[in-house]
């Protein structure tokens, strides 16, 4: 059986929440932070070792500020997961400013023969959301409704 805790990268921390999933992610830069949080979201959903970057697509989102942009980015990926079965493996931010993000997402459609889904993310929330500079890099905290 997949041991999800053993495969967690050092930059990802899963925090305790009574019913939902709260994650904290560290990165050297803001673009990397957005990339890693996206990876972490799919890590909560499936065994990432089994997901191949078979095909790529561009995703673009806009929002009034950086916090909302992170929520929109994750919500859009979650929507693609639910409507098209997308499992994201690699994420590359192509352009990021205070109100817009364009990224290339590599992954593959869900294949029940190879992929196990651990959980369903109902929504990406603003509750407890934080994007902070740590001096040496960036840190984000996000709560998913499970």
């Amino acid at each position: 059986m997949h041991d999800e805790e053993s495969g967690a990268p050092a930059w990802l921390e899963r925090l305790d929440h009574p019913a939902d999933e709260m994650i904290r992610v560290q990165a050297a830069s803001l673009p990397e932070l957005f990339e890693r949080v996206a990876w972490a979201m799919f890590y909560c959903i499936t065994d990432m070792a089994a997901v191949c970057p078979a095909t790529a697509r561009d995703v673009q989102v806009n929002a009034p500020d950086r916090d909302a942009l992170l929520v929109r980015w994750l919500a859009e990926l979650n929507r693609l997961h639910h409507t098209e079965g997308l499992l994201g493996a690699q994420f590359r931010v192509l352009q990021l400013d205070a109100t817009g993000l364009r990224a290339r997402v590599s992954g593959e459609p869900m294949d029940p023969a190879r992929h196990t889904l651990h959980a369903e993310i109902k929504g990406v929330t603003f509750h407890g959301l934080r994007i902070e500079s740590t001096g040496t890099g960036w840190r984000a905290t996000v709560l998913f409704d499970m």
């Binding site: 939902d20 979650n78 929330t125 959301l129 709560l143 409704d145």
Partner: protein, 475 residues
């Protein structure tokens, strides 16, 4: 926080709180409640414009997102707001209780077969589609007709509708306010259970507390029952997701200060507020239709497995409640009748029998309230009270409330075989995944008896019966 009664604690209004926060709990429950962020969330809700009387939390409260789980807040229809964070992603997540004409002895020999067929016929688990395929036009019909849509297609009995909150169809649904993304997600999920804490449970009546009310509800000791717990699936999730940014913009536009952005809201009188209500009600009706179809499928499963006529099986709908919803209701506030938008986020309506909303056959006893516990212990049937109407806008708890986080439960379960442990207790569990069973094991939840006792002692509901699980299908 100050203690008002043995079962009521108050957070006095400070800072930007417009009203006090009121928490219903025993001292024992309170210790756990104070260990998480639910009280802060109660206080946050108290800052929202137009909130009436108090920001409330029921005894099963725990840290949620935006509103606490177990949160109840009513807003003046002219001065107040509506917030998707006060309803949640799983709009009209709710519970139906069905009562059979069968006893435990008659069903027990067939329980494995029943569970296998339930599992095969009702899609469940993470990402499960495979429900009834709908065109966009049919989906709009579901969104405006709710459970009536299903009954009109012979997926259930017309008699079911009397015993569903809102008679299975909330008015004011507006499919034009639903995005194409939500529509896309709703096209194949009617008749599906979902995952997480959603379940189908075969149980039996273990104990009667109120024989008069039990008789009115047609419940008797040893009687086999079925509980359905599920919601509006991806359709509701997407509607909430679509409206959060819109309400976020609206809150800024209307100058509403938010202590937590997940409380994004808009005035009830605004175009944004009305659009959300129109879309949310579509999801409310979708969920009513979903549970109606599942109820129909369960009747088919029982008939095929037991090879009995429908009238010998029964499985009539005792009642169905919503526990994630915002509704326009009339309440007496300080002696004045007011129209309010009551948000219940993980809380159940619990009206006394005097209200027109209660089905006529139940007016003598009050509205049934269905409180699932956990798959290893028990669930409760309660009724609403006049005191709840006075104190909590006719609301009570919705479940046990989690004692362990999902990952905490998985860690605590370790290598234990939860399914085998439950089998030893005489409870058959079938799940789409081992992880769900671990997340949902008994120890992951508070003892629901503590919660319902707190509700009863606080006077906001009355115990009628306790149900014991025999078998459970988990998503």
């Amino acid at each position: 926080m100050t203690q008002k009664t043995e079962y009521l604690w108050e957070i006095p209004p400070t800072g930007k709180m417009r009203v006090p926060g009121r928490l219903y709990a025993t001292r024992r429950l309170l210790d756990r409640i104070l260990a998480d962020n639910a009280p802060t969330q109660v206080a946050n809700v108290a800052t929202l414009p137009g909130i009436v009387s108090a920001s409330l939390a029921m005894p099963d409260m725990h840290w949620g997102y935006g509103f606490p789980i177990g949160g109840v807040a009513a807003f003046d229809i002219d001065q107040g707001v509506v917030s998707p964070g006060g309803v949640g992603y799983d709009i009209n997540c709710g519970v139906r209780l069905m009562a059979s004409e069968l006893t435990e002895d008659a069903v027990k020999p067939h329980i494995q077969d029943l569970v296998n067929r339930m599992f095969a016929q009702i899609p469940c688990g993470v990402g499960a589609g495979r429900g009834i395929k709908l065109s966009a036009a049919e989906l709009a019909d579901v969104a405006t007709s709710g459970a009536r849509w299903a009954v009109a297609r012979d997926l259930g009995d017309a008699g079911d509708l009397t015993f569903i909150e809102e008679n299975g169809c909330i008015p004011g649904a507006d499919p034009d306010q639903v995005s194409k993304h939500a529509t896309q997600r709703g096209t194949d999920q009617i008749g599906t259970l979902g995952s997480g804490n959603h379940f189908l449970e075969i149980g039996c009546v273990e104990r009667i507390y109120d024989p008069t009310a039990a008789a009115v509800l047609g419940l008797f000791p040893g009687q086999v029952t079925v509980i359905i717990h599920c919601g509006s699936r991806g359709y509701g999730h997407q509607i909430c997701d679509d409206y959060l940014p819109r309400m976020d913009r609206a809150a800024r536009a209307y100058g509403i200060e938010l202590p937590d952005r997940q409380l994004a809201c808009a005035p009830l009188t605004s175009s944004e507020g009305q659009a959300y209500l129109g879309a949310m009600r579509c999801a409310v009706n979708y969920s009513f239709a979903n549970r109606q179809v599942i109820a129909h499928q369960l009747r088919q499963v029982f008939a095929a497995t037991l090879n009995l006529q429908a009238d010998r099986i029964g499985l009539r709908t005792v009642y169905e409640v919503a526990h994630n919803i915002a509704k326009i209701e009339t309440h007496q506030v300080d002696g004045v009748e007011r129209r309010l938008c009551v948000h219940r986020k993980g809380a159940t309506r619990a009206f006394a029998g005097q209200r027109d909303e209660v089905p006529p056959p139940y007016r003598a006893i009050g509205q049934p309230v269905l409180i699932p516990g956990d798959m290893g212990r028990y669930s409760y049937v309660l009724t609403g009270t006049a005191h709840a109407l006075q104190e909590t806008f006719g609301s009570t708890c919705h479940g046990a409330g989690r004692a362990l986080s999902r990952r905490g439960a998985i860690k605590a379960a370790g290598k234990r075989n939860i399914v085998a442990e439950l089998a030893k207790q005489g409870i058959l569990v079938k799940s789409a995944g081992r992880r769900t069973v671990q997340e949902e094991m008994s120890e992951a939840y508070k003892d629901v008896t503590d919660v319902v006792d707190a509700c009863e002692q606080a006077g906001i509901s009355t115990k009628v019966a306790r149900l014991r699980p025999l078998a459970c299908v988990k998503g």
